[in-house]
Symmetry: C2
Subunit: 700 residues, 2 copies
């Protein structure tokens, strides 16, 4: 195809880059070798699936009904698992070929959560039995925790597993409607097995929630096991390639070794035994270990979840020419919408956020690996920190992604509202993460609770956790001067270097310290007249901004660190990534995030009106300098056209011809639906012929 105007604009924008986007691809995809092996795997899978012709309307956009959506998900899920099995890799273990979380396919949770739970909660013997079955994918398992009436709050779950000492079995039961397992991915139609969270009862005593591995479907004829009713929860905003399901247990008897018994077991006489000595809290934490590990995967995904709609929006912004700036002469030709300063700012601010999430996720991944290593060596000291940060980072990242994906969609104007733009599905995918794997408002509280423990340590003259030393350095100094009217001298900012990395980090840290101190004081005051629970809840709206501020600080710190390391290894990437980091910091200060849990930096009164002016001027400079790199910065994520599945976002920029071509291929335009609509009984034709009285004319 000879390049049309849009394609020429795209080529030009791509050639403007100041760096080699492939070098950044290697950073994003964990090294050159991994990036290229991932690319090869994707190419095989896309070829198997027959989805590489970008002028052909993607099957996903042909108006599939629930059944067809699911069957297509099955086909794709099978293709990626098969490729992993045949070519011995794990590229699609966490993210699918469309860069969605792998629970988007009917097979994803087998590895992501089913295997993980057995690995974490099972005895050596149980692992020896189950793990090979899972790894060879002879069975397909899911993770059945949430119930119709119970989400994040595990303690409230109703499903029971009652030990029958006569037979040595457990009896799984859903005693109420609200006890129905509801939402687990793969549960409805696709899984043969599930790990089920249920209250363990022996001899009339409730020992709290434990995990059971349960067969739910007969492998021979695919029917549900007697005593289990299974079904699909129906259509969702996205993730429709899998079957989130429900399961109702009617006194289902399962063998005694169904209880995953690494941490607790039941003796034949019904005696309940904890295998380790520990508090109820640490026991409970162990049973959430799967969620903790999966949260890390969610954080990793989040960067891709934002980069994907941004890739579409950035490409569209380059080729969409629309209007001319206010006061232009009538002869002024239409300009690319990226030329509008607001669009330009929105695009780059969100790009900086996608990279911020990526780098924060990579840094957190390193901390997590260290923790895992220590854990294997028997040291659990960092669990609280890891737990608190995983919760907060999950909340911060998924909230940023949900808002950013929808903003990216809006940046494409009306066309972003079309399903074939691919954006509605990306927005739907992005939005899910804010409420699953821990509702974000619950997550913020987990982070804050940990921060308060650190404040408690400081107040008691004890050391804070080693992971918090740097974040909380200077906190005591701040406590001593916080009542004063103007910022203390050690916080005075050098106006000539307001945008230096260290200064920016200091501004973020001060913001965090001020809000932490304010929220802790407020809470403490409340506890004088209320119980801790009442005080906590009464103060909630004042507390969460401190958690939010900590996360912003942590993310900036991670991004600065990571960019420094990358820059030493690959100096050609240093300028663009440093600018992006600075832009992230400055726009975070100047365009505060979602309102309910953040407090503007301006309230700190550390920054003067002049500082704000300077920062906005610096933002303008950065935007101008980064403009030539917008395409390279989005190309770098290496999304294929088939992955984006977007008429607006293909690499070649050929937006209008593709949009029109896909539209004409839609089944609705092949069916002569108009004839049906006009000629059926009660149709348009009959309707127009039958109308003779005016609609309340005077009031129209």
């Amino acid at each position: 195809m000879s390049p049309n105007r849009q394609m020429a604009l795209m080529t030009q924008a791509r050639q403007a880059a100041t760096f080699d986007s492939m070098l950044l691809t290697h950073i994003i995809h964990d090294g050159e070798e991994n990036a290229s092996s991932r690319r090869a795997a994707l190419a095989r899978v896309e070829s198997t699936l027959g989805i590489t012709d970008t002028m052909k309307l993607p099957h996903l956009h042909t108006g599939l009904d629930r059944r067809e959506q699911y069957l297509e998900g099955l086909r794709r899920g099978r293709a990626i698992v098969t490729d992993m099995l045949q070519h011995d890799h794990t590229h699609f273990i966490n993210l699918t070929e469309r860069s969605q979380l792998t629970n988007a396919t009917p097979f994803g949770l087998n590895f992501l959560m089913f295997r993980r739970t057995i690995n974490l909660q099972g005895t050596t013997e149980q692992k020896r039995y189950w793990l090979p079955l899972i790894e060879r994918m002879e069975i397909n398992g899911c993770y059945a925790q949430t119930e119709l009436g119970h989400g994040s709050h595990v303690r409230g779950m109703e499903t029971t597993a009652t030990f029958d000492s006569a037979t040595g079995e457990f009896i799984l039961n859903s005693p109420t409607v609200t006890a129905t397992k509801f939402w687990p991915g793969g549960l409805g139609l696709s899984c043969s097995h599930a790990v089920v969270a249920a209250r363990l009862e022996t001899g009339g005593v409730d020992h709290g929630v434990h995990w059971f591995v349960v067969q739910i479907r007969n492998l021979s004829d695919s029917t549900p096991i007697n005593g289990v009713k299974l079904g699909d929860v129906g259509q969702k905003m996205a993730y429709n390639g899998t079957c989130n399901g429900y399961a109702h247990f009617n006194h289902l008897r399962v063998p005694g070794d169904s209880l995953l018994a690494a941490h607790a077991r039941v003796l034949p006489d019904g005696t309940y035994v904890r295998n380790e000595v520990g508090s109820q809290e640490s026991f409970a934490k162990q049973s959430y270990a799967t969620m903790l590990e999966v949260r890390r995967v969610v954080i990793h995904w989040a960067a891709f979840g934002l980069a994907q709609p941004l890739t579409v929006a950035t490409r569209f912004s380059v080729v969409r020419e629309q209007g001319a700036p206010m006061f232009s002469s009538p002869a002024c030709p239409e300009v690319s919408i990226l030329a509008y300063k607001t669009q330009h700012q929105r695009v780059l601010t969100l790009i900086s956020q996608a990279y911020a999430i990526l780098f924060a996720s990579q840094e957190f991944g390193d901390r997590f690996e260290e923790y895992q290593q220590e854990k294997r060596e028997g040291a659990l000291g960092r669990l609280s920190f890891i737990h608190a940060v995983s919760a907060g980072l999950k909340a911060w990242a998924t909230q940023t992604v949900a808002a950013g994906a929808e903003e990216a969609r809006k940046m494409c104007g009306g066309h972003g509202y079309l399903v074939i733009s691919g954006l509605p599905d990306m927005v739907g995918t992005a939005c899910a993460a804010a409420t699953f794997e821990g509702e974000n408002y619950v997550m913020w509280q987990q982070t804050l609770r940990y921060m308060f423990k650190q404040v408690g340590a400081i107040q008691a003259g004890r050391a804070v956790d080693s992971d918090m030393t740097e974040s909380l350095s200077g906190y005591q100094q701040w406590l001593q001067v916080e009542g004063e009217n103007s910022p203390p001298s050690y916080l005075l900012l050098d106006s000539n270097h307001i945008s230096e990395p260290a200064t920016l980090l200091k501004i973020f840290q001060h913001h965090f310290h001020r809000l932490l101190s304010a929220s802790h004081s407020f809470y403490t005051q409340q506890t004088r007249t209320s119980s801790p629970a009442e005080a906590w809840n009464t103060s909630l709206t004042r507390l969460l901004p401190a958690a939010h501020a900590y996360l912003e600080y942590l993310v900036l710190q991670s991004m600065q660190r990571r960019v420094k390391v990358i820059g030493s290894a690959q100096p050609s990437l240093l300028p663009v990534l440093s600018r992006l980091t600075e832009l992230f910091a400055l726009t975070t200060i100047n365009n505060p995030g979602p309102s309910f849990i953040s407090v503007p930096f301006a309230e700190d009164r550390l920054l003067t009106a002049d500082h704000f002016l300077q920062m906005r001027a610096r933002i303008d400079e950065l935007l101008a300098t980064l403009l030539p790199d917008v395409i390279a910065l989005t190309d770098a994520w290496d999304f294929t056209d088939a992955c984006l599945c977007s008429a607006l976002g293909c690499r070649d920029g050929n937006v209008y011809e593709r949009l029109m071509s896909w539209t004409k291929q839609l089944p609705v335009n092949q069916q002569d639906l108009a004839r049906e609509a006009w000629t059926i009984e009660g149709g348009i034709g009959e309707f127009l012929r039958g109308n003779i009285r005016p609609v309340a004319k005077a009031r129209l």
Copy 2:
């Protein structure tokens, strides 16, 4: 059905109200008589449609494909128009039975835009011919303006209408792919006629965009007229009950009187004649008159568009019991999620926004009526003000609704992600308005441009427009002191009365004045070295916050005024509405809106740290006082269960039984899809049996 726990909680919450919600219903629906006649009409329509059984899965949620969605939209559209014709009312002229904008049905634009355009652009003779056909609904028309390559920017449109003096006809043509009319509601399948925006060309001269009324489909056999290709643009995030369409004209000849000729005509010899003397700008404004009027309808809709998901989220928040506050004893029973202070604040903040939009829309409606009256009398003096406010209010309201609807959805946790929650469709509906009928970033600019003209008048010593006198009072005083470090004495706030209506309004006005003055100075400075167009675009990110601040001021002012009037007529409503107004003001200050176009109040440095503390304490008080009224405040909008179409939001609160019942009725759960998935070739059964090699085990 005997009330279960959820239903009992709902009844209790409803009975807690401090006022009679029906009185508020009368305010929302323009008086008691209108409210009750609307209710009766809805009851008839819902009975005709057979959608009143709330335990039956709504047809809309049965997983309809594109064809079925459209046919259902047709059925519903026909039902409401028939009811209007038979019972001589206009309840569904602007909003459908589901409280969506009427362009959600295939017939809505016939009245909303097709008739309106002919009325505004047609000659007396043209109106005499066309209007009766429209009012009797013998034809169904749409409004064909946007093109594949051209949205808000009318000037860039490519469709041509070339006058052929040999025959006296116009030749309509789409010269390129991007000239294809794309998006018009009803165009694809449902309309017989369209008003088409096209560049009028006579004798090789381009006279700019004019309107033509064109038959596009044969009434006899429903086929497209020769020379027109028609189709549907496919599935969208919402509005799938209608056919947004495309039309490609291939030298279609239409009669000479197709040109709507109220403002310009073409003589038989091809001479082009403007009927009135006026600038090109005022001529262009006239051709956008339909959009101006429709914008008023969009603003009116916006309040309902937010109230609807909020009704669902509020009801769900009352009956959903989940977890217990942090630090509660393990014995603490689960609490309603509305008991969490953050949820409580989110619910009531958004409710205050819905009422703010409602009252602002009613106030604006009154101004608009005055303007219409003056226009009929030949006075167009207020057009600029009306245009600027309609643009800004549309942007502010639709942005508030889009963000608020998604927030309401998130407040329902995972269940809000289900299509049967009704929320995804509401969010999709809400999001559309931010980009249609004028993209919001374009709208903000229209408002600001008008504000700059007012500033220009002040600087030149002239009077501002009479509609702006009050808003800009004190602006000059501010200009004189704005360089000073502390706020001027006339702005000193009495800390004891920080939350008085007049004080709050003053804070908003000062915020507006400060940003207006800052943005105007910045822009003026840029014009010293750049052209006005360059200066405007360079400054854009600094300019728009001033427009945003004006709208916030205007909305608060409208709400305060309206509540005062309502309160005198109906004193029992005064306390609750006054609290809501105060809450709106305080949360707007403390939880700033979307970041790209707003600047925190804290940057004004008018409010001290103490003020912020006081305000947050006052918000806490208001939240507590308003809590008993949450159900009444949402009931008042009078949405029927069928209108909400939500398993989570029915009036009775019976959430879980309904959710489970609807889920079981889904076709996917009637089909034995699992058997198909397991037994087909390439299905799950074959897949699991065939897998023998482990997935890269070591790396799992």
